[in-house]
């Protein structure tokens, strides 16, 4: 259980990273003209789509991990595979965490990601709930090292159920930040300014009156989150490297 809560925290801290890119999407999805409740529904649909993708990826990774383990049979090999996943996941987490200190928190999109993001742009303005839902589903597939890291953990978790739980915990952790980003987007739209401007400035404008001041606060928050993720990554790598007994945690 401590594992799940840790991943929830990873999601929570990592979502500072998410704001860099996915936060932009949440912002742009913005408000529904029919009022606050409709806006909230819109944002929830987006996030539900995103977390569904994560859950699916988690279940898939867990299932593939299970197949791999079942194929090997030998316990020592199983242990090695799980260690491999842990090291991979930890390394990715450290990579993501260190990016926060580089000032440029956005993960670079590959060619495929750029194509996907390009296609998604057409969905943003679609009215109704289907648009944001579809948007969220596709958003979940965008290449993101954080998602890969957690997916690697899901693969090592022992089965589709626990894999799904792993990713769900992470996904729920990203919920608050992205809902907040969505609220900022909606607020911005109500202000009559066209949305879809650079996201970072939107976020910094939203978190305080003076942009420079807000910027420094944001950098601090970024660094804290980055440090947390680096520590989490190191712990995960350590789990893979150190011969601790019971480092395989089958989920209840």
């Amino acid at each position: 259980m401590s594992e799940v809560s840790l991943l929830f925290l990873a999601g929570l801290a990592g979502s500072v990273h998410c704001i860099g890119m996915c936060g932009g999407f949440a912002c742009v999805i913005g408000a529904d003209a029919r009022g606050r409740a409709a806006t909230l529904l819109r944002q929830l649909a987006y996030n539900a789509g995103r977390v569904t993708t994560y859950c699916f990826l988690g279940a898939l990774a867990g299932y593939l991990g299970l197949l791999l383990v079942a194929q090997c049979g030998d316990d020592s090999i199983v242990a090695w595979i799980q260690r491999g996943f842990a090291v991979l996941s930890g390394a990715l987490l450290v990579y993501v965490g260190l990016q926060f200190f580089g000032g440029h928190a956005r993960g670079a999109l590959g060619a495929g990601g750029a194509l996907l993001a390009d296609a998604m742009r057409t969905l943003v303005r679609a009215p109704g709930l289907a648009g944001p839902l579809a948007f969220g589903v596709l958003n979940g597939f965008l290449p993101c090292p954080l998602v890969y890291a957690v997916a690697a953990q899901a693969a090592a978790s022992g089965g589709p159920g626990s894999g799904m739980l792993t990713m769900a915990a992470f996904g729920l952790g990203t919920f608050p930040a992205l809902l907040a980003a969505g609220a900022v987007g909606a607020w911005w739209q109500r202000g009559g300014v066209p949305a879809g401007v650079a996201t970072v400035s939107l976020v910094s404008r939203a978190s305080g009156g003076r942009a420079a001041h807000a910027g420094s606060g944001r950098v601090l928050a970024l660094r804290c989150a980055g440090a947390f993720i680096v520590v989490l990554g190191l712990v995960t790598v350590a789990r893979g490297l150190l011969p601790l007994s019971g480092h395989i945690h089958p989920m209840p």
Partner: protein, 706 residues
């Protein structure tokens, strides 16, 4: 009473006609969604061409398709997650009572999914079956309905052998494949649209009303008459061929000359339609009607070229046409085989896997997409390639033959002296000019030009023999102008004083009347600046080169040596050129002929690929397969074009090898029961993605190569 059957007939006929070219779609017809409506096309090229013209609503359409795909993926991922839990035994033991409710949940999720994503496939399948065709829609429809229907029946019977996940994955992956294909088409159409926009372009026309006040109206370029003044603002496209009357700016003429350079323009200078205005506004007087500019003609030709089928494209379409019924039979046979040995479920799964894995979505797409992108890339540099078949031939050229005058030498000849025998210079020029006025050949144009200030009569009953000469009546005298061979063909005597070659060996035009050759106009040839570079680049590509000319041997030999051309033939009549070309084709294989397009018509037609250097002002007269851009560096486009064609061919071959190889292997695996339908659908979708990405990369690589 009669109206009703007539209407039915009309709609039935409409269904069976290609939406673009209006020809019957035949057995190989394809159904695609364009602009939100399903239409039938005879080939993929027609579909692309149609999309360019009617694709204004592509963006909202793509968004709607993506939303459907996203919502479908949402439902599918839920189905898959629960199915994975079922497979891994999460609901065994104590929680076994949950299995039945989970199955019901899967059915609950799958039903809207089948309705949402299945509808287009079912509609397409129904339409195709009503017309007696088998399409991939039919295969997908059968597969999905079989998996879904069987699962539903099993569920109602209380069994737990459900395959909702299979139905869901097949549907969502095929929808993804369709979406990607449609996106590839939209992007291809988007990159073609600027070229074809010429036909719908508008311009700011300056009109003066009765009291002299000037006003500006927006008018369609097609409707602009010669002499009309047009204003072009900075950054806008010049819409007419004409002369600058006011303003100073610079224009990027890449669309006309293939050279992306800005050329300074000021009052009195010619500008070309299709070029892009730079920093200042220009006022231009149209020299020709708006519809007759080269830009407009290129747009028309590119649109026609898109709808032309290529050899490979037609072959692939034919294979696909027999492939689909074959796959259906194979699926039935597989299902029958497994039904006897392992029961109905194994039969269902193997049959479904065969149906799904063999859907040749990516096959029909590869050739037209690669060709359309290459044609567009060429057209953006002012090169007209008339169809994908031409590209295929260009890619496998072995040799290339050049005409001399107006092709490797400048079209504008400079006459430097006149020799006479038994007549005065004035007399010779009088007859020469009278005849020359009736022809568009570079030699005739040059003669007409130098004699322009001398008043004279025009020849009557003129006969022009392309590449040889012309004859006609001037003041009642039978006279002729042309090569030595032409004079010999008339049976006229050639004085010794005129027959000998000059030391520089330039082009000569003989003039004679009353059965005797009386004079000879000598021209200096200037080699086109781009010809040596272009020829060297072609030789580096491993092509044999050949020079064929109607001129005298010394001139041709000298030029061939200067250009580094391997072989040359001189003093050829047009039919001799055709013969030389046929011989070259026999000895080398595929031979392209480069000529000036108007006088070399029959020779260009005899070549594997006829290439015109684009001197003609009216492209409609060009019958060549390829028309190079106008301007001093037009021929430099030739090596680039061959590279483009080679790239397109390579990408196409790799795609076909991939697609056929993949289909063969996957089909065998599926029939042997070694491939899950879900995996089969995933492989199918992946193959579509690979084909689309490969075609795109080929287009981009060609753009980078120069």
């Amino acid at each position: 009473m009669n109206a009703v059957p007539a209407a039915v007939d009309a709609s039935a006929a409409q269904m069976l006609e290609c939406a673009h070219c209006a020809l019957p779609i035949g057995r190989l017809g394809q159904r695609r969604e364009v602009g939100g409506e399903a239409r039938w096309f005879c080939c993929y090229g027609c579909c692309l061409a149609y999309q360019v013209h009617h694709g204004e609503r592509d963006e909202p359409q793509a968004a709607a398709a993506l939303i459907r795909l996203g919502v479908g993926a949402f439902l599918t991922m839920n189905i898959m997650a629960f199915s994975l839990l079922l497979y891994s035994g999460a609901f065994d033991g104590d929680e076994a009572w949950l299995r039945q409710p989970v199955h019901w949940l899967l059915a609950l999720l799958a039903t809207p999914l089948v309705a949402l994503l299945g509808a287009p496939f079912f509609a397409g399948a129904a339409q195709a079956l009503a017309q007696g065709r088998l399409t991939t829609d039919v295969l997908v429809g059968i597969g999905v309905l079989a998996a879904y229907g069987y699962s539903l029946i099993e569920l109602l019977r209380g069994s737990d052998r459900v395959y909702f996940d299979t139905a869901a994955m097949v549907l969502v992956l095929f929808t993804l494949g369709r979406y990607l294909e449609a996106q590839a088409r939209v992007r291809a159409a988007r990159s073609l649209a600027p070229l074809l926009a010429a036909e719908r372009a508008e311009a700011r026309v300056l009109l003066r009303d009765a009291n002299g006040a000037q006003r500006e109206v927006i008018m369609r370029v097609r409707d602009i008459a010669p002499g009309v003044c047009v204003r072009v603002l900075p950054g806008e496209r010049v819409a007419v061929d004409g002369v600058v009357v006011d303003g100073a700016s610079e224009c990027n003429e890449e669309a006309v000359t293939g050279q992306p350079q800005f050329i300074a323009k000021s009052a009195g200078m010619p500008v070309h339609a299709g070029s892009i205005n730079g920093s200042g506004p220009l006022e231009i007087r149209a020299a020709v009607a708006g519809a007759h500019s080269r830009w407009q003609q290129v747009a028309r030709m590119v649109r026609e070229a898109l709808a032309r089928k290529s050899m490979i494209g037609v072959t692939v379409d034919r294979i696909v046409a027999v492939f689909i019924p074959g796959v259906l039979l194979l699926a039935l046979a597989t299902a029958g085989y497994w039904n006897e040995r392992a029961g109905i479920e194994a039969a269902l799964m193997t049959g479904l896997a065969v149906l799904v894995v063999a859907c040749p979505c990516s096959l029909g797409l590869a050739a037209p997409l690669a060709n359309a992108l290459a044609i567009a890339a060429a057209a953006s540099r002012g090169i007209v390639v008339r169809g994908g078949g031409v590209l295929e031939k260009l890619a496998r050229l072995d040799a290339i033959a050049f005409d001399k005058t107006g092709t490797v030498t400048d079209g504008e000849l400079r006459p430097h002296s006149i020799r006479v025998d038994g007549a005065s210079t004035e007399e010779v020029m009088h007859y020469a000019r009278a005849l020359a006025c009736a022809s568009d050949h570079p030699v005739a144009r040059a003669i007409a030009q130098i004699a322009a200030d001398r008043a004279g009569t025009r020849a009557r009953r003129v006969e022009v023999r392309a590449g040889a000469g012309m004859r006609g009546d001037v003041d009642g005298t039978r006279c002729a102008l042309g090569t030595a061979a032409w004079m010999a063909a008339q049976g006229w005597t050639m004085p010794r004083a005129l027959a000998g070659h000059t030391e520089d060996g330039g082009t000569r035009a003989f003039v004679g009347w009353d059965g005797c050759v009386r004079g000879c106009v000598l021209f200096a040839d200037t080699t086109r600046a781009d010809a040596p570079h272009a020829i060297r680049a072609l030789q580096r590509r491993g092509l044999h080169t050949l020079l064929a000319s109607g001129d005298a041997a010394p001139a041709v030999a000298r030029l061939a040596a200067a250009l580094g051309v391997e072989r040359w033939h001189a003093e050829l009549m047009p039919e001799d050129k055709v013969r030389v070309l046929r011989e070259a084709i026999r000895s080398h294989g595929a031979v392209a002929m480069v000529g000036d397009g108007i006088n070399d018509g029959p020779v260009l037609a005899a070549a594997t690929v006829g290439i015109a250097v684009g001197g003609a002002s009216d492209l409609a007269k060009e019958s060549a397969d390829v028309i190079l851009p106008r301007g001093a560096n037009g021929m430099l486009a030739l090596p680039w074009l061959l590279e483009l064609a080679a790239n397109a061919r390579h990408s196409l071959q790799m795609n076909l090898v991939w697609a056929f190889g993949y289909n063969a292997i996957a089909l065998a695996l599926a029939a042997a029961g070694l491939l899950q339908p879900v995996l089969a659908a995933a492989l199918m979708a992946a193959s579509s993605v690979i084909v689309v990405l490969r075609s795109w990369r080929a287009g981009a690589a060609a753009d980078r190569s120069v």
